[in-house]
């Protein structure tokens, strides 16, 4: 049995800096084989956790992106109607009996695996990412409960397909709607917040190899202060990384040296027109001055 610190370093080897809380939650999710619900603002690295976890464990990542109107056929399995139809046409010429045809067209060969079925039939336990579960309808959420509890799927024509391996399930939610208590109770929970200064600095240094420490500190200081401003869309970690890449690409080493250049790179951080209007050159310089 490995400990959570081992997991934390395994994630770090994949350039993901996980907080202690998150690492313990992930470790428990793996040990107890329970799904883990990650909640938090957009851009704090929830989806990334799943990707990195799969890489660290050297296993497959199966992703199900939820959206309004997502139904069982798109998430679990579907019969391959076109192939079934062709098989029927072909069999009528070959003179097969009805029973033979039926047995053939309702076999695994004609079953199209969608993410959830695929996740439980892998030889090596994959990481199953159910992304933005709060976008799916409540019916779908209820549907998921059954699969997450028993890890088995019933296909009426075939019978029950039981999991060969239990996948590591990670659900993410941005909180656009309240999730049901039933779902929350079946999952372990971790709230992922914007990282603190040290963590974000570590992330930046892990992702942008070769960045100067002084510049990295200034960038983090700038972004952390910017997050406290009254913004419509608060920049996440991905935006910080883009911002750092932009600064490095333009060869800017000092945020206060060239106001116009800094303003130009803010496109990586500010994603709405009103946020851009709000953070004028003067405001940006004030924030940069504070950060320095």
């Amino acid at each position: 049995m490995t400990s959570w610190t081992d997991l934390q370093s395994a994630l770090a080897a994949e350039n993901y800096v996980a907080s202690d809380d998150l690492a313990v939650s992930l470790h428990l999710a793996l040990s107890l084989q329970r799904p883990l619900l990650l909640e938090g603002a957009a851009g704090v690295g929830k989806t990334e956790v799943a990707r990195v976890l799969a890489a660290a464990q050297n296993t497959k990542l199966i992703r199900l992106q939820c959206y309004e109107g997502l139904d069982a056929a798109q998430a679990i399995y579907e019969w391959n109607y076109q192939r079934q139809l062709l098989a029927i046409r072909a069999s009528s010429e070959a003179g097969e009996t009805g029973k033979q045809v039926e047995d053939r067209i309702f076999s695994r060969e004609y079953l199209l695996e969608r993410p959830l079925l695929a996740a439980i039939t892998q030889a090596q336990a994959p990481v199953l990412l159910i992304d933005e579960i709060d976008r799916a309808d409540e019916e779908f959420e209820a549907f998921l409960l059954e699969i997450l509890a028993d890890y088995q799927i019933t296909v009426p024509e075939l019978g029950t397909i039981t999991a060969t391996t239990v996948p590591t399930v990670i659900l993410t939610s941005n909180g656009t709607r309240d999730l049901s208590d039933a779902l929350r109770r079946r999952c372990l929970f971790a709230y992922v917040d914007y990282p603190d200064r040290e963590t974000e600095l570590a992330i930046l240094q892990a992702r942008c190899a070769g960045i100067e420490t002084r510049l990295a500190e200034k960038i983090i200081g700038f972004v952390q202060t910017l997050r406290k401003e009254d913004l419509e869309k608060v920049p996440g970690i991905a935006e910080t990384l883009d911002f750092a890449a932009a600064l490095m690409g333009l060869g800017i080493a000092d945020l206060t040296a060239d106001p116009a250049a800094l303003q130009a790179t803010l496109t990586t951080l500010l994603k709405t027109q009103s946020d851009r209007a709000h953070i004028t050159t003067e405001v940006a310089q004030r924030i940069a001055g504070k950060a320095a």
């Binding site: 313990v24 428990l28 109607y81 971790a190 709230y191």
Partner: protein, 395 residues
């Protein structure tokens, strides 16, 4: 001195302590079952349980289910395990735990949500009852007391009103139905052919598509979000509006409701209680400050920046019940409504004063709000609200 709580010698062991901790969490509003106790004990075998920090993290992952729980958890953990507990009566570590009154609000809203730390706790032992009451078995309650005047809203509302309001809310919900969904679903009568289903069904007839299945655009209901001003000047109308909110919550499961006076409180979960009068009772606990002053602009602003980001979208209709008498500058309302508008929602303002003859929206707050509204109407009684149905159809 060690900060770890020392348990009595007669204490039967780790399992009992864990059960005690779970009971402690339950008393403070976390909803946990026996299954969680078991999971918590199992979880401790996977971490170094002798390390308080690790135990805390492991139990946090098991016992919390939403952001509010997670924020509250550390203080609750300390109060039980870290010698901050074993307190005889009510006092607990300094922090702002959400009150028991909103224990069921499982939303993942921003920490800025104004009701955090709101109402006091109904089950907290009364202050000043004297030592005689303290038998050493006092509950560990990790909330701060707030002594604000409290009003039992049950005095205001009758069950018949709620039933009537429920019917009206249903009808309004229907009136607001938007008939333009972009996705099509299978239907017996539709405007297009559902190819996948048709082929699927044709298997039964040897591949001949005898029965054609259609697709149509389903009805998509609009979501009602109601914000009700319960400040002093609105007290006379509160009866109507609160009944409407209660009815709305019971008649429409997608609706959302808030109260505001000097701060904003989300009451959706409380109002969903199966027992209507108990729901009103739960709401009373949150409505501290009822009948006081009103900060419309600030409340709307809080709403626009917290809950609205999550619960309001282009299919929402925001109904504001207020007379527009604000104690803060009108620019606040203007800015708040402008922010809200950007979310693509419709805004309806129901002002009881508009029912008066010769009423002019001259109150500065109301005047500032007008340009942002889709409808500005009067509604003094439930009948007035019902009459709105026809108007809302055209929204």
């Amino acid at each position: 001195m060690s900060r770890v709580t020392r348990f009595a010698g007669r204490d039967p062991g780790a399992t009992a302590r864990m059960a005690g901790f779970m009971a402690h969490l339950r008393e403070n509003g976390l909803r946990l079952g026996v299954q969680e106790t078991e999971a918590a004990l199992t979880a401790l075998t996977y971490v170094d349980a002798a390390q308080p920090a690790e135990t805390r993290r492991a139990l946090k992952a098991i016992c919390t289910g939403c952001k509010d729980d997670a924020q509250q958890f550390d203080a609750l953990f300390d109060s039980f395990w870290m010698d901050a507990g074993r307190v005889r009566t009510k006092v607990m570590p300094k922090r702002t735990a959400p009150s028991k009154g909103d224990d069921s609000v499982h939303s993942s809203r921003n920490a800025k949500g104004e009701d955090a730390g709101g109402a006091g706790d109904a089950t907290a032992p009364e202050a000043g009852q004297g030592e005689a009451e303290n038998d050493g078995e006092g509950k560990l309650i990790a909330t701060e007391m707030r002594n604000l005047s409290r009003r039992d809203l049950r005095d205001l509302i009758q069950p018949e009103d709620i039933a009537e309001a429920e019917a009206i809310a249903r009808r309004l919900g229907l009136a607001l139905r938007d008939r333009r969904s972009r996705r099509r679903v299978a239907a017996n009568k539709g405007d297009r052919l559902h190819f996948r289903k048709t082929i699927r069904r044709s298997l039964a007839t040897g591949g001949e598509p005898i029965r054609l299945i259609q697709r149509k655009r389903p009805d998509r209901s609009r979501k009602i979000v109601a914000l009700c001003d319960v400040s002093g000047s609105m007290t006379v109308y509160a009866q109507v509006y609160l009944a409407f909110l209660a009815g709305l919550m019971r008649g429409d499961f997608t609706a959302d409701a808030y109260l505001f006076h000097t701060r904003l409180v989300r009451i959706t979960e409380a109002l969903r209680d199966k027992d209507a009068m108990r729901a009103i009772g739960r709401m009373s606990l949150m409505a501290d400050g009822f009948g006081g002053g009103s900060k419309i602009g600030e409340s709307l602003d809080t709403f626009a920046h917290t809950y609205a980001r999550k619960f309001v979208d282009g299919r929402s209709v925001v109904m504001i019940f207020s007379d527009g008498y604000d104690t803060s500058p009108p620019a606040h309302i203007d800015a708040a409504l402008a922010t809200l508008r950007k979310r693509g929602c419709r805004i309806i303002w129901l002002n009881p004063l508009k029912g008066w003859r010769d009423y002019q929206p001259v109150a500065a707050g109301m005047a500032a709000a007008l340009p942002h509204l889709d409808r500005f109407a009067a509604a003094n009684t439930l009948a007035d609200l019902a009459a709105l149905e026809m108007e809302l159809v055209t929204l």
